[in-house]
């Protein structure tokens, strides 16, 4: 097996911090697009957050959306061009805070799109504030004594939330913190794209990912945090597959 | 009815067909190629309460679709008469559903025509066509539109969705036309 750069990824350095999971997730999405031969018929949406700049890395048509609105934008693109492949790529703030309404309704309408949700339990781009998925007790710049269930509520679980919606075809939570997890994550992402090709409806893969910079830990400690803390709060697995 | 312009208000309880009567009138005016505006419904209707529609029919350009001082008030019930009689232009006309209006008002500077619209509608077998009966009386008295234009408007309105209603509404119009009485 030869290690090559996927065609769907541009030959450039990313702005992501050392130990960040976005690069891995970008690569997995790009590999899947390559393997399914979709690069020339794919339109991706960029969110607001660290991955806003994903159009600098993906070599396919991309539209950068307002914060939280990718599901609405993707809905229209897919409805207008049903023969194209449309994916959203959103972080936890984008999908589970400011864009919750757009997420739930696009999912409930069963829009035939593929959603990649990168959950790193923090706001990266703005400097480490609490995310909707921040863990109980986790310290952020806006929960300096740790997230308090009584004040901020518990972390919001997107897969569990969407599982009750009839329009949703496929939900799986994966991680990119171990080699084995990466392999599972790629399979899930591939299925989420294949579902779109098969016209099955809304498919979402939630990826637990590392943010050493804003967690204020080393990359190694960040991996441990995903494996030990996040996986406990956000159990991996398939939440829906119809 | 200055400048060949007739400003009409149709008023009654919600559910008495005020909107439909306004629609028929405005459509009949279009059939005759007259200028017409209608403020017939405002997109948030409820049953019960009072309802009114205003229609302006003119040979000339119409500036405002609103009717502050109606030349004609088509009145389906007592509260509507009480409310709108004071606004009618001097020399104007009240067309009154005498079945639902006991006190026809006190103005001496307006004309009145009455028709037992609800009673006639009941005798035709459908109380809901009282609105079209009263249009018959209005057209008979004013001659502002030709009866056949009203009949054609009824036909246009019901032909696609409720063709069964064409006949009874046409009968209602004719009965009102025949049954109009000066007061």
């Amino acid at each position: 097996m030869q290690f090559k750069r996927p065609k769907t990824i541009k030959d450039t350095q990313t702005h992501y911090c050392p130990g960040c999971g976005h690069g891995i997730v970008h690569r997995l999405v790009a590999e899947v697009i390559d393997e399914l031969g979709l690069r020339e018929k794919t339109i991706g949406t960029a969110p607001v957050g660290c991955s806003v700049l994903l159009y600098n890395y993906f070599d396919c048509d991309i539209i950068e959306c307002a914060h939280g609105r990718p599901p609405a934008v993707a809905t229209a693109i897919k409805r207008c061009q049903p023969d194209k492949v449309v994916f959203t790529y959103q972080g936890d703030g984008d999908i589970a805070a400011i864009g919750t309404a757009e997420l739930i309704h696009a999912a409930n309408r069963g829009e035939n799109i593929t959603a990649i949700f990168v959950n790193n339990a923090i706001y990266g781009m703005t400097g480490g504030q609490m995310a909707p998925t921040t863990l109980i007790g986790q310290k952020t710049t806006t929960t300096q004594n740790g997230r308090d269930r009584k004040k901020q509520g518990p972390p919001l679980k997107v897969c569990e939330l969407l599982a009750s919606l009839e329009g949703v075809a496929y939900l799986q939570r994966v991680a990119v913190s171990t080699a084995k997890d990466v392999i599972i994550a790629k399979k899930a992402i591939k299925k989420a794209f294949q579902n779109q090709l098969d016209g099955k409806g809304y498919s979402l893969v939630e990826v637990l990912s590392m943010c050493p910079t804003d967690w204020k830990v080393t990359p190694k400690q960040a991996v441990d945090f995903v494996n030990n803390e996040m996986k406990a709060a956000f159990p991996l697995g398939v939440y829906k597959d119809v | 009815m200055a400048n060949n312009q007739t400003r009409i208000i149709i008023a009654g309880f919600g559910g008495q067909g005020v909107v439909l009567a306004g629609n028929i009138l405005a459509r009949a005016a279009v059939i005759e190629d007259k200028n017409v505006t209608g403020m017939i419904s405002y997109g948030a209707e409820m049953r019960g309460g009072t309802a009114n529609a205003t229609v302006v029919i003119s040979d000339e350009k119409i500036a405002s679709p609103f009717v502050e001082v109606p030349d004609v008030a088509i009145i389906m019930n007592q509260p509507s008469l009480d409310k709108f009689e004071p606004d009618i232009a001097s020399g104007g006309l009240a067309v009154i559903n005498s079945t639902m209006v006991e006190d026809a008002g006190s103005r001496t500077d307006i004309d009145r025509v009455s028709v037992g619209a609800s009673e006639i509608a009941n005798s035709l077998g459908n109380a809901r066509v009282a609105n079209v009966v009263i249009l018959g009386a209005f057209i008979k008295r004013t001659g502002i539109l030709q009866p056949r234009s009203i009949v054609r408007a009824i036909d246009e309105l019901f032909s696609t969705k409720k063709p069964a209603f064409i006949e009874i509404n046409t009968n209602a119009f004719n009965a009102g036309y025949e049954g109009a009485k000066s007061v």
Binding site: A72, A76 | A26, G43, P65
Partner: protein
Amino acid sequence: MSKPSKKILLKGNEVLSQAAINAGCGFFAGYPITPQNEVPEYLSKALPEAGGIFIQAESEIAAINMLFGASASGVRCMTSSSSPGVSLKQEGISYIAAAELPCVIVNMQRGGPGLGNIRAAQGDYFQSVKGGGHGDYRLIVLAPSTLQEIYELTMNAFDYADHYRNPVLILGDGILGQMAEPVELTKYRPIVDLPEKDFVLDGCKGRERRVIKTLLLQPAEALIEFNEYLKKKYAGIESELKLCQKYRCDDADLVVAAYGITARIAEGAVDMARDKGLKVGLIRPITLWPFPDEDFRAVAEQAKKLLVVEMSNGQMIEDVKLSIECSRPVEFYGTGGGWYPTSEKIMEKIESVYE
């Protein structure tokens, strides 16, 4: 009977909807709000029948962002709302203006601020012509005053949007949306050159990939340069697209200025004044941005005074004063909160300010 009329009786909201279909609108997203509900109701049936896409969005925010996607797909698209809902759309409008995506936005204004009421108003003038959302952008704002004009301007709006790659706002009000009037549904003909849509995202087959974005971080000058570019683009629109109608202004001592339904009602007052021998005219901007300032300057040379009438407490009056550089006294008549003027009341005001 004379030859059958070509005109049909429709409500303003229905006229607008049919105009959109006739102009080739292929996508509509909206959310219910009175007094514009007939637009989504009409289009929910008629647009799919014409081969287009209708979506009842979960919010005004989602609706405007759906336009972002539809326009990026190269499809003529429209959303419609009334004042509180248009406030919600402002974020998306700013992004659409920044991305230079053509689309048509309708505001059938109602009383405000806040939830206000559902009666007609013109309280959103500032929001419409001065920005509304964040950043240094402009919308082309069209203000029809009759239902026939709603029909024509709605079709034109799609052309202007495509021609200038800019969102176009149709600023109506509850009266225009709700009133019924006979309209002739003439055939659609483009009124301006329609450039090829070389921005469309339809997959990068056989070409370099395309990106639609509004974040310009690097280099530091990028956003300055983009705003300079927009400034030039807007100046170009200003030099080409100022629409205005004058009525009996030639010898007028007093010129009434109003837009939309208010102008139409004011025209009745001008006729009343002329019948009484008063030299009164009417100037009606059809584009509120760009504001037809040269036309205002021209009438101010003749007139001794202007009278602005609005269904608000005075918003357009600021642009009138700026246009004529306060060279004449400008009187005002209007009320906010869902009030409408009558020709008679405007006439009273005319008589009280006429010299």
